[in-house]
């Protein structure tokens, strides 16, 4: 449960991360460079770089080297895993089970 808490805290530590998560979940076929991703949430590449890398560390996003470019895409399998962990954590917080 602590892991789930840590994951949640890291995932939602900034508004940009939230925007990125919404973007990739709503658009699971998105495969783009940082600049492209940034444009799609109305920002620039340098403002989202750190958050992007954090989501990569979390495993929700994957980074691939495409020639000179780094592209980011949703890691569907890992994302499902993280969602499952969070879902279990939320279930465990339900009043009937107590805190």
């Amino acid at each position: 449960m602590n892991d789930a808490r840590k994951i949640l805290d890291r995932m939602l530590s900034s508004g940009i991360k939230a925007d990125l998560l919404v973007l990739f979940h709503k658009n699971p076929g998105l495969v783009d460079v940082a600049d492209g991703v940034a444009r799609r949430i109305g920002r620039t590449a340098d403002t989202i770089e750190a958050d992007l890398k954090d989501l990569v560390d979390l495993g929700i996003l994957r980074m691939e080297q495409v020639g000179k470019l780094e592209v980011f895409l949703l890691d569907h399998a890992k994302d499902r895993e993280v969602q499952s962990v969070i879902a279990d954590h939320i279930k465990s917080l339900s009043p009937s089970k107590g805190v």
Binding site: N27, P28, G36
Partner: protein
């Protein structure tokens, strides 16, 4: 040579049965002429009517927006994706222009194994490539798709000046494709209507007449040729003499 039906009945007639399998067609037109709708309907009909899977590659519009736009026609793209019949890939042109970027595209193609691909739109590549290299890079990309034996529709946003030109692109990209469908707005009796014409189709005959089409709640409907009008290509057509003469006396009957 087998044909790939678009599922838009009148359009398939104009194309003499549909696109030639493995070909690349370009749908060129200004903003709002219905290029994306045509392309979407091509994929959706392929899935629903012919059991052919599709891949939609979009550069500018987010998949979320495409899902929402498709819903207005009753097309549930998310459901099709969940059933592995469709994939919507969103990327930047510079990713696909990288040699390794095509491998990512290839991976998507291997995953979904589509028979039909849409690239929306080819004009975005121009933003990432110097003009002198545009044709070469576009050629490379389109030829890559040909090696995957898919039938592709590439949209192209072209400007529409006052007089309707038959040139699909300002950059010569129409030379790279096998079929060109031009979409245009025309003004008829103070209202904007849409016209389409096939200007090129390699290896096949096709109907060369300008036709009206409209975007209905079920998608694109292609109507009869504009035989009652002349000068459609000027952008401001006028009725043919026979049509105007008939109307004068028919109105007489209603008065």
């Amino acid at each position: 040579m087998t044909r790939v039906n678009t599922g838009i009945v009148e359009l398939d007639k104009i194309l003499n049965g549909g696109f030639m399998r493995g070909d690349t067609a370009m749908i060129a037109g200004g903003a709002g002429t219905g290029k994306t709708t045509f392309a979407l309907q091509y994929l959706v009909n392929g899935i629903a009517e012919f059991g052919e899977r599709g891949l939609y590659v979009t550069f500018e519009q987010l998949p979320d927006q495409i899902y929402r736009d498709a819903e207005s026609f009753g097309w549930d793209l998310r459901k099709m994706e969940n059933e592995n019949k469709l994939m919507v890939m969103c990327t930047s042109p510079d990713v696909l222009l990288e040699p390794a970027g095509k491998d990512i595209l290839g991976r998507f193609i291997d995953q979904i194994r589509p028979s039909r691909v849409v690239m929306d739109s080819l004009s975005h590549i121009a933003m990432f490539v110097p003009e002198r290299e545009l044709r070469r890079e576009a050629y490379r990309l389109l030829m890559y798709l040909k090696t995957k034996r898919v039938t592709t529709i590439a949209t192209y946003e072209s400007s529409q000046t006052g007089a309707m030109s038959l040139s699909a692109t300002e950059t010569g990209l129409s030379f790279l494709v096998d079929c060109v469908i031009l979409l245009r707005f025309v003004e008829i009796e103070s209202s904007l209507r849409k016209a389409l014409v096939i200007t090129k189709m390699r290896g096949s005959g096709h109907d060369k007449r300008l036709r009206e089409f409209e975007i209905t709640s079920q998608g694109i409907k292609v109507a009869e040729p504009f035989t009652q009008y002349e000068g459609i290509l000027t952008g401001a057509p006028r009725r043919s003499m026979a049509e105007a003469f008939t109307d004068a006396f028919k109105k007489q009957r209603r008065s």
